[in-house]
């Protein structure tokens, strides 16, 4: 039932020379040779050759919308686990619009440990990640369940202009939020079926003809 798989390259594999093409993300250059850094899928776009990793951790980028777990309440903000190599910080001024008298209020009334938030990355320098709730989509996610997928497979889960994720939402009657960091929040009726479909996309993202398989799974 499996259809053909995409071509896979390995770390240390020579992909070309700098005379033919320019090196981009996921590659490095050594003696004019372009070499892959990851176990991934090579992509040629214009003059550039890149490798999209099939696994790996989430590296925050400014503007990304992610789902985070509040892990600590500090004096003027919150420490948030965003499923990346670094912990992120959400400062009070970026999170709350009203005036807060720090002498009288405990800021855990806004967000507390174990809260799940949909939030935007506003800055990333070295290991310092800053978050912001100043986005119309940003909010606290109440109830529901979260699953984690490989961050590099998030575009595959969403599909072309949201086609894949919308199919899952419709067929399972759920609300789904996907963070760029690979955390997926689900709430609604057939949660188990939605999780099954999401896990399948995570495992088989490299297979051509995945969309048909997913719609088959959902219409069972």
């Amino acid at each position: 039932m499996m259809t053909e798989a995409r071509e896979v390259v390995l770390p240390g594999e020579v992909l070309g020379t700098t005379k033919e093409i320019r090196a981009s993300y996921g590659t490095f250059v050594e003696d004019d040779k372009i070499i892959s850094k990851f176990l991934g899928i090579p992509k040629k776009r214009g003059d550039y050759l890149s490798v999209v990793p099939l696994s790996g951790v989430y590296v925050p980028k400014r503007g990304d919308k992610v789902i985070g777990f509040v892990t600590g309440v500090e004096k003027v903000g919150w420490v948030v686990d965003i499923n990346s190599p670094w912990l992120a910080f959400l400062s009070l001024s970026e999170a709350v619009d009203e005036f807060v008298d720090l002498k009288r209020t405990d800021i855990s009334r806004y967000y507390d440990v174990d809260d799940i938030i949909y939030v935007q990355v506003s800055d990333m320098r070295g290991g310092n990640v800053q978050l912001s709730m100043k986005n119309p989509m940003a909010r606290k996610l109440k109830g529901g369940v979260t699953v984690k997928i490989t961050p590099s497979k998030v575009p595959r889960l969403i599909g072309k202009s949201g086609s894949m994720i919308n199919t899952i939402k419709e067929k399972t009657k759920t609300m789904i939020r996907v963070g760029q960091n690979g955390v997926v929040w689900i709430s609604g009726e057939k949660i188990e079926k939605a999780i099954k479909a999401i896990k399948m996309i995570d495992e088989k993202s490299h297979v051509i003809g995945l969309t048909e398989e997913i719609s088959k799974l959902l219409s069972e």
Partner: protein, 238 residues
């Protein structure tokens, strides 16, 4: 290493298990054996089995351990109590602490650690069954697990042991050969440019013999390298 045994380790050019001097034991490799880890692998060389798991890059605490310009790598080599015939006392020993360190030094040159400053990459190597050459099997497993975890790498790391029985140079020692051979050398290298990242020696050898063992190990290592590449590709083939 000079221990006495009545048994002849090489008879008419054949070793205890019927191999020729330059033969490697049967290899079996699999990646993705630990679902919770970012990357994992199980590697078997004959009767030696090692499972490796890689977590990270992930946040590192306490803060004074962090390096501001790169990730650090933590290695742990451990032998399960049931991995040897006599029970191995659990917990770190002088030997396992040393192997953890040399494994770290063998893996470090293959990684782009500067991409994740202030973090840690944890590498765990658990020996489930020991029959010689456990440290090189561990490094092979760790190399596969790191590639599976998506840690940026310059190259895979291939490791192999060499040694000497009587006057013959042998490759990939099993437990008995490890104990009674005149010398053994574990070697790890990056196969694209044949850069050696681990070279230890136990026993006594002449300089030419060392050179010969290194040459043979680099040559036979290509078979291990090929097997590693096949294993990683197989995960995405089905």
């Amino acid at each position: 290493m000079g221990m006495k045994t009545e048994e002849k380790l090489i008879v008419k050019g054949k070793r205890l298990d019927g191999r020729k001097p330059e033969d490697i034991r049967e290899m079996e490799m699999k990646v993705g054996v630990i679902p919770n880890a970012n990357g994992s692998a199980r590697v078997r060389f004959g009767d030696t089995i090692v499972v490796a798991g890689v977590y990270g890059a992930r946040p590192l605490f306490p803060k004074h351990l962090q390096e501001s310009d790169r990730a650090i790598i933590k290695c742990r080599y451990n032998m399960a109590p049931f991995s040897v015939e006599d029970r191995a006392r659990p917990g770190p020993s002088r030997r396992s602490i040393e192997i953890s360190k040399v494994a770290r030094l063998a893996l470090e040159p293959a990684l782009f650690l500067e991409e994740y400053p202030e973090t840690v990459v944890d590498v765990y190597m658990e020996v489930l069954q020991a029959d010689g050459s456990t440290r090189v099997t561990g490094i092979n497993a760790a190399s596969l697990a790191l590639a599976d975890a998506g840690v940026p790498m310059k190259d895979l790391v291939v490791a192999l042991s060499g040694g000497k029985i009587d006057d013959t140079i042998i490759i990939d020692l099993c437990g008995k050969e490890d104990n009674y051979s005149l010398a053994d050398i574990p070697i790890a290298f990056l196969p694209r440019k044949n850069e050696i990242t681990l070279l230890q020696m136990d026993g006594q050898l002449m300089p030419e013999e060392v050179k010969g063992i290194i040459k043979n190990a680099l040559k036979s290592g290509q078979k291990v390298y090929k097997k590693q590449k096949e294993t990683l590709r197989r995960k995405y083939k089905e």
